[in-house]
């Protein structure tokens, strides 16, 4: 794969593989559902209706997609530099907590408070990946293991800080943030019952920014060059350690932003266990979106729809909500093992696993 060469056939395959992965995963999901005595068509109809049935539900789907877009971008950005950030979950948690803490500062105006709290989340996320970044860049320590370890350190750290430092005794959530730190909700002007907030718009802006950064700037070019071949990049005068650290810090900051949206936009406090695994689902979002910002938008909305529609699916068709997690896992298998599909594509290009 060339850095900027557009190959129509490769592009078609890039689009086809996620589509096939989704289709096959839903077929397997249908078989599972049917095996246990439920009606697959009724199930998927309910899932679809729960996710997109009316304006409220559609808004809730976008709300559910928002943190996944951030964590998906986080994973994809690191991927573009040849790095696997599996620690998005921890970065999101510390980001959320930092935003919730800054959100409680009083006496600030909205124009200062919101950006400050959002920035705090990004910085916290970046700090949380800094140790793996430095170890990777200078000692070659595999970032997968260190970011996993940082996840578990984060679980313990945020539990300690949120429950024993910030929260009032006996509470499982931190004190509410000031109204000046709220991310503006769409229900303020639209007649909808949803907590969808400015966080989604922020996600779109960040998405465009990441696209611009990766493909229209020297910084992005260098990061991608290191991702394709760090040795060749070094030979061409591009510092691999510098770009590895930069890419990982940005990746961590992106995941941290996902946490800010949850605490500043949705909950207005930090509550222990608020993330059902946004960081991990972000890996699925990035893979399905082929590590491209626009792919991530679509994949994020799909996964947001699944997580939003499942409650209605459960009520209407009786299927346990966890079917959705099973389908998500199967999608990852198919996207990861895309050789399953590629082997049927005639005259495949050599070494096409991007």
């Amino acid at each position: 794969m060339g850095v900027d060469k557009i190959d129509i056939k490769e592009l078609a395959i890039e689009l086809l593989i996620p589509l096939l992965a989704i289709i096959f995963s839903f077929i397997i999901g249908a078989i599972i559902v049917y095996t246990f005595g439920y009606d697959p068509i009724e199930t998927y109809a309910a899932l679809l209706q729960g996710a997109f049935g009316n304006l409220n539900r559609f808004a809730d789907t976008l709300l559910a997609a928002t943190p996944l877009i951030f964590t998906g971008l986080a994973v994809a950005f690191a991927f573009r530099c040849g790095l696997f950030n599996i620690g998005g979950e921890g970065q999101l948690l510390v980001g959320g907590l930092a935003a919730a803490w800054v959100g409680t500062f009083d006496g600030l105006s909205v124009v200062v408070h919101v950006p400050l709290a959002v920035l705090a989340a990004a910085i916290a996320g970046a700090i949380w990946i800094a140790i793996p970044a430095v170890l990777k860049a200078f000692l070659g320590v595999h970032e997968v293991i260190t970011t996993i370890m940082m996840n578990y350190i984060a679980y313990a750290m945020v539990a300690y800080l949120s429950l024993k430092v910030l929260a009032n005794p006996g509470e499982i959530k931190t004190p509410p943030i000031e109204a000046s730190a709220y991310l503006w909700r769409f229900s303020n002007i639209l007649d909808i019952r949803s907590y969808m907030n400015l966080g989604f718009i922020l996600a779109l802006l960040v998405l465009l920014f990441i696209y611009y950064l990766l493909w229209k700037t020297t910084i992005g070019y260098e990061i991608r060059a290191v991702g394709i071949n760090p040795d060749a990049a070094e030979y061409g005068g591009i510092s691999a350690p510098k770009n590895i650290i930069l890419a990982m810090l940005i990746s961590g900051a992106l995941a941290g932003l996902g946490g800010a949206e949850r605490t500043l936009g949705l909950y207005h406090y930090y509550i222990q266990g608020f993330s059902p695994g946004y960081g991990f689902t972000g890996i699925a979002v990035a893979l399905l979106g082929r590590n491209h910002p626009f792919g991530i938008l679509l994949a994020g909305i799909l996964f947001g729809a699944l997580s939003n529609g499942r409650t209605f699916m459960n009520m209407a068709a009786g299927v346990p909500i966890d079917l959705v997690n099973i389908i998500q896992a199967i999608i990852i298998f198919f996207v990861a093992a895309d050789l399953i599909f590629r082997q049927f594509i005639p005259n495949k290009s050599e070494g096409g696993v991007a």
Binding site: H142, M149, K164, F280, P320, N325
Partner: protein
């Protein structure tokens, strides 16, 4: 002084052994897989599935022994998904591991709903009996460690496993079936993770609870790394981490928050990887799909 004698009491030491058992067994599972060159961050999910199947089989047959057997068999089969996707289809092994963990988390709760009609805790089933002071799985776990050391370092099979993990092309050139060795090793890792899961659900408890492995698969991974990819190293690390779990309640009495104690395995592992106290180095060919004639 009093707190020190409490920390090193017989009760703490036996509870250390109980806590260390699932870590050591799963770590040895991970060891087989990684020594053959396949990253296995799926231990958590494989353990969870094993814990669930053990309870289900015991529930339907009334026999915890069959439950244990079921966990081993299912663990091995479930790991085959990871094996096929990673070995045959050259998928990113980390991604495949993430997917196994998700599938196990979603699948066990889905089936918990179908079989027990709940999302929380299953019904109580017949658990494994005590053999003296411990459950059988504790003794089996220790045995697993010694066998792993013997198999990996004293047998021709072990030599093949290590050569496949270090230099697969060299191994291939002397007629070793690289893919077959890797399938076997990933299978063993699933069987052992299943055993570790059964220890939790039928040894420590007598039921399955949603997400009951609670990160132990990742502590096992940490133990494997901290133990420098050797069986006795993994056992030592598991005992250390098990000990830190066993004393965390008592340390709270000294004013050390439990959360800080919980971080210990992960912080130690990062320090070990950084090479501060004797560098941990993974097998050379780890994570790379094997393609004949390509290097």
């Amino acid at each position: 002084m009093e707190i020190l004698t409490q920390i090193f009491s017989l009760e703490t030491l036996s509870s250390t052994l109980r806590m260390a058992t699932p870590l050591a067994i799963a770590a040895i599972g991970g060891l087989y897989s990684e020594r053959s060159g396949i990253i296995n961050i799926a231990l958590e999910g494989l353990m969870l599935a094993g814990a669930f199947i053990a309870v289900v089989v015991s529930y339907f047959t009334g026999s915890p022994w069959l439950g244990l057997l079921g966990a081993l068999v299912f663990g091995g089969l479930f790991a085959m998904i990871h094996a096929v996707v990673s070995i045959k289809y050259h998928a990113d092994q980390v991604v495949s591991g993430v997917a196994i963990n998700m599938l196990a988390a979603g699948g066990t709760v889905f089936m918990l709903n179908i079989i027990f009609n709940t999302s929380g805790t299953s019904e109580s089933v017949n658990a494994l009996p005590y053999w003296g002071p411990f459950k059988p799985t504790v003794y089996i776990g220790l045995l697993v460690v010694f066998i792993a050391h013997y198999v990996l370092f004293k047998t021709p099979f072990g030599l093949r496993v290590r050569s496949v993990g270090e230099h697969p092309h060299a191994a291939d050139s002397v007629g070793i079936d690289v893919e077959k060795i890797r399938y076997i090793c990933v299978g063993i890792s699933g069987i052992l993770a299943g055993l570790a899961g059964a220890h939790l659900s039928l040894g420590v408890l007598d039921s399955f609870r949603e997400g009951m492995t609670a990160g132990r698969g990742f502590i096992a991974l940490a133990a494997m790394i901290f133990g420098k990819w050797t069986p006795f190293g993994a056992l030592g690390a598991s005992l250390l981490f098990g000990f830190s779990q066993a004393v965390q309640i008592r340390l709270q009495g000294l004013g050390i928050p439990t959360e800080f104690v919980q971080m210990i395995p992960y912080i130690f592992t990062i320090i070990a990887l950084a090479g501060v106290i004797g560098k941990s180095t993974p097998p050379t060919a780890i994570g790379e799909p094997f393609e004949k004639g390509k290097r």
